[in-house]
Symmetry: C2
Subunit: 759 residues, 2 copies
C-alpha cells in the first residue's frame, strides 16, 4: 500500500452521513402503520400497586392499547438476578419505574392517555441510603434482603505487610452516580412481521445481547427475534444489556401486532437510563519509606439501586482492577453491593474503574506528600511492567505506563508547576495527576470473549465486512475498515461495514470492555488474511505462477518480479466464473487465550491491558469555590493507534465526561425522586467548561492485538477525577474525598483550613 | 426425523404473510422523504427526438426533477448487445420506449407533469414485420443491420438421412409473443444513502444480476450498489436482467438524492414488460416407416423487438433444446434473430422451449397420423433415456419421460378417447398430447452455474439460511428450508430464509433456468451437512464420545446406544461459549460438473434435465369456433418432489399460462402500438377458462440433485400449446399451425375442410 491504511488520522467512514444529518437512528425509522408508545412511571420510590384503571385511557380516540404489569409475561428477566417484569407488577421499587404503557396513533395522543390512567398506590417506606441498607429493620427492596452481592479477596499476608510498613494511611472516598449522557436518548422500533417474527431496531451496543434480553423478557425463542442496529448516538455502557425501554417497546409490538416506536425524551431517558454505580470506598494503604506499596485494605459499599443488572460486575472492577496496575502483593478487599429504592445502576464507561481510580490516585498523592516524594515517582516505582504477572494473575503484555507518566508530566511542566510558590490571591492554581489501567477485552460471558468477522469480496474487488460488534460512535467500523484494507491490500474507501443484524451478522458479544478493537480487530485480521490467501491462490492459478510470489497492494496483484499482474477485480471475477467457482466469502474468528476469573477472582481475563495517565492544572476561585480546569494532558497507551484521530476523539470525550463527573454533574433527589432530571439542571460539562484538550498517545506494540493495537481511550475516563482533586489540593490545600467537587465543598474546606490555621 | 421434512405437501413458509396481506412487495415500501416517479413513453415505433421541452413540467408545484436522455449516463447497457440508454437518446425504437421521467412529491403530480412535457418527434418509417427485416432497403433498427444473431447447427449427415427416410413432412409454425402476466407489476424503491451508496429494493429474480445491470447502466462500481429483494409477486423470466424500470428508478434516485419509488401500473408494465420471443419455425422431419426420426431441418426467424436482451439465448433454446429429448442424430438448424421496431422481447418461462415444443409436437402428431402410428408410441420410440448422451452432448441422468407418457395417457383414457368415433354435432371433442424437456440449471454466465448458501445456527438451535437465489413465489425458500431441515435434523419451522440482499447474501446467479432447486439445493445440502458435522463434533467433545456415534434428529443429539444425549441448543451454546468458540456459521457451495456450450453448441450444460408430458381433451364449438379445455393431465418428471404441493402449484400455473398463450392471449398492434395493453383486452385465462387441473408427478431420483430432486414444473409450460392444437385436430380435423388458436382460425379451418370435402 502506498499509504498505509492504519496509523493515519482518518475521519470515520460514517462521518459523511452523520454530518449531513442523514444517518438513521432508531428514532428516525418509520414503518407503515406505525404506532407510538409512551410510558407511565411510578411517582413513588416504594409502593404497592393497589389498582390500575386504564379504562379512560383506552377509551381515548386514537389509543390502540394500554398495557400494565397484568399484561406482560409472567416471568422475571435480568442479567444475573432475575428481578424485573416488562412492566412493574404489584410493587414499584424506584421513582420512574415503568408501570404502564400506552400505544396510540400519535405521540401526542399517547401522552394524553397517560394522564388518564389512574393508579392507586399504597405508599411504603423506601430505603434510600445505601449506608443503611444492611441495618436491621429497614425496608427490603427484594425478598432475601438488601445485600445483592458480596466479594472478598485476600492476597498475601496483609496484616504482616501493614506491620512492616513505614507509613499507613486510611481514608474513605465517596463517588456518585453519573448519567451516561449520550447524544441519542434510547429509541426502539419494533414490529411483528407477517411471518410472526419480532423485528427490533434499537439503539444498542450489542444486537446479540439485546436479542438475548428480549427473548428472555418476552419468553420467545431467540431465533424468532431479529435485532438490527441503526446508527447509534453513543452508549457509554448504558445500552448494553440492562436497557428496559427496548424490552417494553418490543412487548408492545407483540401486543398490538403493529409496528411500535418508543423514543424516550431526555427526561424519560434520565429517569430510566443506566447510571453509574456509586460506591463508598474505604482505602487503607501501607508503604515503605521509599514509596513501595506493601499492603492495601479496601472496603467498598456500592449501590445498585432497585435492580442489580450488571452492577455486581461493575463492583468487581471497582474492587480489583487497579490492583493490577501495581506490583502490590498483599491485599484484602471486601465489597458489598446493596439494593436501595432508587433507579437501577450499572455499566458505565470505565465499568467501575473510575470510582477506585479516584480513591487510589487521591490516596497515592496524599501518601506521596506524607513521604515527601513526587507522586509521579511513586507511580513509577510501583508500576507493573511488560512481562509481569499481577497479583490477580493478569499477564501484562505491552505496558507504556511509565512513558505515559513522562509524557503528561513533561507536557504540563510538572516539575516547575508543582514546585512553584503558591499564589495567595483569590485565584489559585495547582497541578495534579493520576494514572489508571483498563482491560482490552474481558473473558466473562460464558467463558468466551470471541469475535467473528464475515468478509465478502465483491466482483469489483471491494469488500463488505459483517460483524456483530457495533459502532456506537467510537469508530469501530472505521477501525475494522482500516484493518481490513491494510491486511487485504485495498483502499479503505473500498470497504463497507454492514450494520449489525442478528440474522445477518456472525455471533459477537458487542461493544463493551474495550474489546472490539482487540478481539474484533483480530477476527478482522484473520478474515482479511483468509481472503487475501484465497485471492492470491486464485491469481496464481489464473496467472500461472506461485501464490507466494504474489502480493496484493492497492487493489492490484503483482508478482515480485513484476512479470505477473492483474487487477483484483479480475481475480475476484475469476474466482466465481470457473468450474467450482464461488464468490469470495470468508470467515475469521478470534477468541483470545485468556482465562476467566476463578472463584477467587484470579485469571488473566484480557488479552491486553491499556494504561493512561493524566495531568491537569486547575484554577480555584477561593471566593466562589469554583474550580476551573485550565489545562489537561492525557496520555493513552493503546498499542499501535489504528486511527489516531479516533483515539484522540475518544480520549478527549472520556476526559470531558470525567470532568463533568468531577465538577459539574450531580443527581439531586427528594424522597427518591430525581429533581434535576434534565440537562438544564443536571449540568454536564459544556463548551465553556472545557479547555483545549490535549490528548496524547504513547504507541507501543501489543503482541496480542491486531497490527499491534489494543483497546484505546476507555482508560481515559479513569484518571480525571483524582487528577483534578489532586490539583485542587495542590492549589489550595483542600483534600476533597467525596465527589463531585462542588463550590460548597471547596469553600467549606477553605473555611476548615482557615479555622485550623487560626486555632 | 419422525416426519421427513421432504416429500410432504407443505404450504410455503411465507404463505402466512402473503395470506394476511402483510408480505411487503417493493411497491409497499416507503422511506422518509420518498418521491414518486412516472414515465413518459414514446408514442411512435420509430422517430427521431427533435426536442424535449420540460420547462412546464419542471415548473409544476411538487415536481422535483424531470429527466430526459440528455441527463442519463453517456453509456449504453445491455445483456450482450450494449444498446440502451437509461432513457431514450436521439431516437425512439418502439412505442412505449421511456423518453422522460418525472419525480414528484405525489404520484398524481408526477402524472400531471408528464402531460406538460413537450416532445417534438420526427417520425420515421418503422420496421414492424420481422419477416421483412432482412430485406434490402427496410428501416434499420440499429446501425449494422437488423440481424441481431444467427446460429447454425449441423449434426450428422442430414441430406443422406432425409434420402433414406420413408416419410418427410415439412410445415411452418408461427408463435406469438406472450406477456409474463405476473401478479405484481414491476416496482422499485431506490435511494442514495448518507454514505453515498445506492440502495435499491426491486422486484427481481436475481439481486446480483440486478446489481450488475444497475452498475453498468449507471456507471457505478458494483459495490456502491446494494440490491435488496422484497417479496416478489412472480417473474416468469421478465424480472431477470433485461428489466428497465428499475434502472430508471435507481437513476432518478441518484439525480434527486432523495428516495424515489417507481411502481408501474398494469398498462405501464405491459408497455415495458419483457414479452416472450415470437418465432416462426419451419420444420422438416424425416422418419422411417416405424416412426424413427432420422433427420430434421429447422429454420427459425425470431424477433427480439428493438433491443436484443436475452432474446439470442432464448432463440438458441428454441433452436436446439428439444433436439436433446430424442435420439435423433442428423440435424440442420438455421436460426436468425432480427430487430423490429417493437417492444424488446426476451426471457419467459420455458425460455424459448414452448415455441419449438409447439412445432415439434404438432409435427410429431401429424407424422404419426401419416404413418398410422399412435403419437405416444412415436414419442416413446424416439425418447432419449437415462445414461444416454444427446446429439448436442447432453448427458441424461434421470429421465422418466416414458413414465410421464404412461401416466398422462392412462389418466385421460388415451386409447379409448383417441379411437372413439367423432361426433358430428356442433360440439366436438378431441384429445391431444405433447412431450417436452427442460434443463435443471444451465451453465452460461461466465462458465459458471454455482450457488452458495450461508447457514447460521443460532444459540437456540434454529437456523437462518442466506442465499442469493430468490423466491418469486415458486417456493424456493420453502424448498431450501425443507432441505436444510431434513439434512440438519431440525423442524422446518425452525428455519428462516433471509431475503436476498447483495450486501448480505453470498453471490448467486438467481432464479432462472430452473436452477435453484438443483444448484441452490445442492449448496443447501452441503451447508447443512457442514453444520451438522460441526455440531456433532462439538457434541462429541462435550459429551465425551465419538461424533460418528451421534445423530441429530428433530433437534436432539443422541448416540446410537442412547447413552449420550443433548438438546441441539445446548450444543450450539457450547460451540460458542468455550475457548476458541464461535457461533455456527458455515458455507456450502456447489457448482455442477457441467460443460458450457462450445462454439458449436455442444456441451452438457445442465446437471440434470426434466421431462414432462401432457394430455388434454378439448371441446370445439363448430359454430362459434370456440375451443374449451375439458380436461388436462400433466405429468412432471422432477426427480424427488421436495414439496409436492409446490410442484403441483407450479405445474398447474405453467399449464394455465400455456393455455392462455394457446387460446386467449394475443397482442394486437396498430402501427407498432399495442392496442390491447390491459387485462380486459389482453385476455389471460381466467377461472372460467380453466378446468380442474390434474398435475401428476413421476418421481425418479436425480443423482446430481439435492436429495434426488431436480428442477420442477418449468417444463410444464412447454407441451400445452401442441397438446391443445393436436386435440383440436383430433376433434375437428383442423390443423392450426399459427398460435393463438382463435375462433376465427377454427372457423376458417372448418370452412376450408368443408370446401375441400365439397370439391
Amino acid at each position: 500500500m502506498e499509504t498505509s491504511a492504519i496509523g493515519q488520522a482518518r475521519p470515520q467512514i460514517n462521518a459523511r452521513e452523520k454530518v449531513l444529518g442523514r444517518a438513521r437512528y432508531a428514532g428516525d425509522l418509520k414503518l407503515a402503520g406505525m404506532l407510538h408508545a409512551r410510558l407511565l412511571r411510578a411517582p413513588h420510590a416504594h409502593a404497592r400497586i393497589v389498582s390500575v384503571d386504564t379504562s379512560a385511557a383506552r377509551a381515548l380516540a386514537g389509543v390502540r392499547a394500554v398495557a400494565t404489569g397484568a399484561d406482560v409475561p409472567d416471568r422475571r428477566w435480568g442479567v444475573g438476578h432475575k428481578q424485573q417484569h416488562v412492566l412493574a407488577r404489584g410493587v414499584v421499587r424506584f421513582v420512574g419505574e415503568e408501570v404502564a404503557a400506552v400505544v396510540a396513533e400519535t405521540p401526542e395522543i399517547a401522552e394524553e392517555a397517560l394522564d388518564l390512567i389512574r393508579v392507586e398506590y399504597e405508599e411504603l417506606a423506601p430505603l434510600l441510603d445505601p449506608a443503611l441498607s444492611l441495618d436491621p429493620g429497614v425496608p427490603q427492596v427484594h425478598e432475601g434482603g438488601n445485600l445483592s452481592e458480596e466479594i472478598n479477596i485476600d492476597r498475601g499476608d496483609v496484616d504482616a505487610a501493614f506491620a512492616g510498613a513505614d507509613l499507613i494511611h486510611e481514608e474513605t472516598y465517596t463517588t456518585h452516580s453519573q448519567y451516561p449522557g449520550y447524544m441519542e436518548p434510547m429509541a426502539t422500533l419494533a414490529e411483528v412481521d407477517g411471518a410472526g417474527r419480532l423485528n427490533v431496531w434499537t439503539s444498542t451496543q450489542s444486537v446479540f445481547l439485546a436479542r438475548q434480553r428480549l427473548a428472555e423478557a418476552l419468553d420467545r425463542p431467540i431465533s424468532s427475534i431479529r435485532v438490527i442496529q441503526p446508527t447509534v448516538g453513543g452508549g457509554f455502557g448504558g445500552k448494553i444489556i440492562e436497557e428496559r425501554s427496548s424490552v417494553i417497546a418490543a412487548f408492545l409490538a407483540t401486543l398490538v401486532d403493529r409496528p411500535v416506536r418508543l423514543g424516550l425524551s431526555r427526561l424519560d431517558d434520565i429517569l430510566s437510563g443506566c447510571f453509574s454505580v456509586p460506591a463508598t470506598i474505604r482505602l487503607k494503604m501501607g508503604m515503605t519509606r521509599d514509596g513501595t506499596i506493601v499492603a492495601k485494605e479496601v472496603d467498598i459499599l456500592a449501590d445498585c439501586g432497585a435492580y442489580a443488572g450488571l452492577a455486581g460486575e461493575v463492583m468487581t472492577v471497582t474492587a480489583m482492577r487497579s490492583d493490577n496496575m501495581q506490583r502490590i502483593r498483599n491485599i484484602r478487599t471486601r465489597a458489598r453491593l446493596v439494593y436501595t429504592h432508587t433507579m437501577p445502576r450499572g455499566a458505565f464507561r470505565g465499568f467501575g474503574g473510575a470510582q477506585m481510580s479516584f480513591a487510589l490516585n487521591s490516596h497515592m498523592a496524599t501518601m506521596a506528600e506524607m513521604l515527601g516524594l513526587d507522586v509521579i515517582e511513586l507511580h513509577r516505582k510501583n508500576a507493573i511492567g511488560p512481562g509481569e504477572t499481577s497479583v490477580h494473575d493478569w499477564k501484562i503484555g505491552s505496558c507504556e505506563l511509565p512513558a505515559c507518566l513522562d509524557q503528561v508530566s513533561e507536557a504540563i511542566g510538572w516539575g516547575e508547576k508543582r514546585s512553584r510558590a503558591k499564589a495567595g490571591g483569590v485565584l489559585r492554581r495547582g497541578v495534579g495527576m493520576a494514572a489508571a489501567m483498563h482491560v482490552s477485552g474481558n473473558r466473562t460471558i460464558g467463558n468466551w470473549d470471541g469475535s467473528t468477522i464475515l468478509l465478502k469480496v465483491n466482483e469489483d474487488g471491494r469488500a463488505v465486512v459483517h460483524t456483530g460488534e457495533s459502532d456506537m460512535g467510537q469508530g469501530a467500523f472505521t477501525m475494522l475498515a482500516q484493518i481490513c484494507a491494510e491486511t487485504l491490500g485495498i483502499p479503505v474507501a473500498h470497504v463497507t461495514v454492514a450494520a449489525p443484524d442478528t440474522d445477518n451478522s456472525p455471533y459477537c458479544i458487542g461493544t463493551l470492555a474495550s474489546r472490539v478493537t482487540i478481539n474484533g480487530g483480530m477476527a478482522m485480521v484473520k478474515a482479511a488474511e483468509e481472503a487475501r490467501a484465497t485471492i492470491l491462490a486464485a491469481a496464481a492459478a489464473k496467472l500461472g505462477c506461485d501464490a507466494e510470489d504474489l502480493a496484493l497492494v492497492d487493489g492490484v496483484i503483482r508478482s515480485a518480479d513484476g512479470a505477473h499482474t492483474a487487477p483484483l477485480a479480475e481475480i475476484c471475477r475469476y474466482h466465481i466464473y470457473r468450474h467450482g467457482g464461488e464468490g469470495i466469502y470468508v470467515k475469521g474468528s478470534h477468541d483470545p487465550q485468556t482465562v476467566r476469573f476463578d472463584g477467587d477472582f484470579r485469571g488473566n481475563i484480557a488479552p491486553a491491558y491499556s494504561f493512561a495517565a493524566q495531568a491537569v492544572e486547575v484554577e480555584v476561585d477561593t471566593e466562589t469555590g469554583q474550580v476551573r480546569l485550565v489545562e489537561t494532558y492525557l496520555s493513552d497507551d493503546c498499542g499501535v493507534a489504528i486511527n489516531p484521530l479516533a483515539v484522540h476523539g475518544q480520549s478527549n470525550g472520556a476526559a470531558v465526561q470525567a470532568l463533568g463527573w468531577t465538577l459539574y454533574e450531580e443527581l439531586h433527589f427528594e424522597g427518591g425522586r430525581v429533581i434535576n432530571g434534565n440537562l438544564a439542571d443536571y449540568t454536564m460539562a459544556t463548551a465553556d467548561a472545557v479547555p483545549m484538550m490535549h490528548s496524547m498517545i504513547v504507541e507501543g506494540y501489543e503482541p496480542n492485538g491486531p497490527l499491534g493495537a489494543k483497546g484505546a481511550s476507555e482508560t481515559a475516563i479513569l484518571p480525571g477525577a483524582a487528577a483534578i482533586a489532586n490539583a485542587v489540593y495542590d492549589a489550595i490545600g483542600v483534600r476533597i474525598t467525596d465527589l463531585p467537587i462542588t463550590p460548597e465543598k471547596i469553600l467549606a474546606g477553605l473555611a476548615e483550613l482557615e479555622e485550623a490555621s487560626l486555632a
